[in-house]
Homo-oligomer: 423 residues x 2
């Protein structure tokens, strides 16, 4: 999508990969310092060695220090940090630990609708029960605790709900949860003894000036010891999103709070079967949590590059919302965070019938027509889940501004045409 | 263990990581050529983008070309190649596809004893049935088809044997299978309609002058169409072993033959949940299958480094076998391949009783004593499985020659002492 890598991150990675470069005058000293520190902590001072299954020690320490800074001093323990192969790996591993096999009462896992399909796929892979709670589209996709209550009560008839998954900022829905809402969710999890699974991979991607990212960990601690000593929480982060977008390195971590020591032992055992997460991805994660600071040689360039990516994303979020809302038959909530628009689209009855004739979901039919007529690929809402009778698609806002404008204009023209054609 | 990375591999990786280096005169042209080719095939020409879940196309093509060369012209199809997060990931993914859930007749998976514990762990994770077949220690750990027949017949009473796992060269046992033996195994798999899973990650690690690596794929094709069109086979390779030893990058591939197209579809779906294997590991795999060739700038240095690692390993394999066989109460089969010695050790009755008093397996007791008295860490045979009443340990031969000599001398002294102490 044209987004350039953050120079500092790639410099440190290149130095770690080929340490001969540590003698090269073309690399800044702060990058060399980071690379030496990472290599020092690696077996044989090399990215090529296996690490401990939980990840390289000093990187887990850097992650803990990052979380402590992010959460205004709420302590983080490196022993609770697990480096992972992207966030997906962490999420599926924790779910595997939490879902108990077979028996009459299968494990229920609560997920938002719309959801990111990793959740439904892993739940199905583990033979657990997917328990849907619906986000409130009329209210900017907010999470409403009454809806959680409804969902858990209904689920108890046919399964044992044990896990509550939250995606904040939301994917595909782009909402950023308020502090109050997070408190309510934590209280609900405490009441119902649910394990909280907070997917916070978009924590750096908040655009609306009236929104802020609040981590579940921080709010949990601020709610006092009754919560912070009892509510079990796993939260996830990744090198793939934010301003860095380094998806290919498959870097990530999870922080796990209040997990019983015996279960922690099982978790490490499970992780050790696959030996370790890629050490190159661990190194990338280190740079994300330990970036240049004021006074360091690379600080200015790093900050400029980071602000440019995030500033552009904010601009594109607004642009997308505004344009979609000018189109008759499209309604788009504010893109408060993450990287996607998830507009609601009106699909005329005749188009629904045409879709049925092709044995396609109506929004799938719509997206295929869009692809055929414009070459633009978006994902139908039915892939994420949506309230019955409503239709959506997910579109990324990653393309460069000018390209995105063209894309939006083409979608608009297509949509108007589509409405006419099936009027 | 002191083994240095292969320069060419790290040069290409550094160029891919930080493409500014493509302008640097300090990197050889053939490394730049490889890096440009890999980047050209990556999304956004960057290791930082997700790849297709099956892996980068041109890397799968290079893997297929490598297999074709290795197997003397037997064709390999890039569509049958799946890049993986190390071989472990490939093995567990294929097993997940092959093991059908629950029901009265659980899936039996045949594995060698001694085995590499990934197999028993994944089988247990998947709730499948582990079906042991014993390697023949008296015959250099050879695989005997009569033993396969015994194992499968007995297993049929309580499960449905569907998969036969082979590790060649063997881990922890170091044997290299003869061509005749591979033919027998393939014929047996054909008779019993078993899916063959050939763990061939040590294919470059063959030391005995009278042994050669034969791939299951090649033998399968040479046995004619009745076999090559019917026997289902997955074989695995990795960047972690061989002469490169790049474990940390988690690079690997599997080649899957005769898999039903619908199952292939399920396989890709399963892989796509975790998005893609690390692209840096994929790039490392590419360099392994597409190394410098005669006439290229880096060929001489690359060949020297490769031969040095493999030559040293061969020397250390012989050294280890010879020294162990001089010690009373230790018997060590020839280390024909892989990276380990798996000597049989005599443990006196009094030591067995002392172990029982500590609620330890006798070889665990032995290994703990060795660790405490010498600081040398080896893995007890009970971690890999062994015939009842026999004891072993696995020791790597990776340390540099002089260090390995010291290690072996210390193990020898310890063992003689141990025999005296518990006589």
């Amino acid at each position: 999508m044209g987004q350039q890598p953050i120079t500092f991150l790639r410099q440190v990675m290149a130095l770690c990969t080929y340490p001969n470069l540590l003698d090269s005058p073309s690399f800044p000293e702060d990058a060399k310092k980071r690379a030496r520190r990472i290599l020092q902590a690696c077996g044989g001072h090399s990215l090529g060695s296996y690490s401990a299954s939980q990840g390289v020690n000093c990187i887990r320490e850097d992650v803990a220090a990052y979380i402590t800074r992010r959460d205004g001093g709420v302590p983080a323990d490196p022993d609770n940090i697990y480096l992972t192969t992207g966030a997906s790996d962490g999420i599926s591993t924790i779910l595997k630990i939490l879902v108990s096999g077979g028996g009459k009462s299968r494990t229920g896992v609560m997920i938002p609708i719309p959801q990111y399909p990793l959740y439904s796929a892993v739940i199905s892979e583990l033979d657990a029960i997917q328990v849907n709670y619906y986000l409130d589209e009329e209210n900017c996709w907010a999470l409403n605790v009454n809806e959680l209550r409804r969902a858990v009560q209904e689920a108890k008839d046919h399964c044992d709900p044990k896990v509550l998954c939250i995606i904040n900022p939301g994917n595909p829905t782009g909402q950023v949860q308020s502090r109050k809402c997070i408190e309510d969710v934590i209280h609900f999890a405490w009441e119902e003894k649910l394990f909280l699974l907070a997917d916070e991979v978009y924590q750096d991607n908040v655009y609306s000036p009236d929104c802020r990212f609040h981590s579940f960990k921080k709010v949990l601690y601020e709610m006092g010891p009754e919560y912070s000593s009892n509510v079990e929480l796993a939260s996830f982060h990744s090198t793939s999103k934010g301003y860095m977008g380094e998806c290919g390195y498959r870097g990530g971590y999870m922080e796990v709070i209040n997990l019983h020591p015996e279960i922690k032992g099982q978790l490490v055992k499970l992780l050790s079967v696959r030996l370790c997460p890629p050490v190159s991805g661990q190194a990338a994660m280190d740079i994300v949590v330990n970036p240049p600071v004021a006074g360091e040689e690379s600080f200015e360039q790093f900050s400029r590059e980071k602000e440019s990516v995030l500033g552009n994303l904010a601009k594109k979020a607004k642009l997308t919302e505004d344009l979609f809302n000018q189109v008759p038959g499209i309604h788009c909530n504010p893109l408060q965070g993450a990287m996607y628009a998830f507009p609601r689209i009106f699909i005329p009855v005749k188009a629904v019938e045409a879709a049925q004739a092709h044995q396609m979901a109506p929004d799938m039919f719509y997206c295929m027509k869009l692809l055929e007529e414009t070459g633009i690929c978006v994902v139908p809402g039915s892939g994420f889940g949506q309230r019955e009778g409503t239709y959506h698609f997910r579109m990324t806002i990653l393309p460069p501004v000018e390209k995105l404008k063209t894309v939006l204009q083409k979608v608009k023209d297509f949509h108007i045409n589509f409405l006419e054609k099936y009027a």
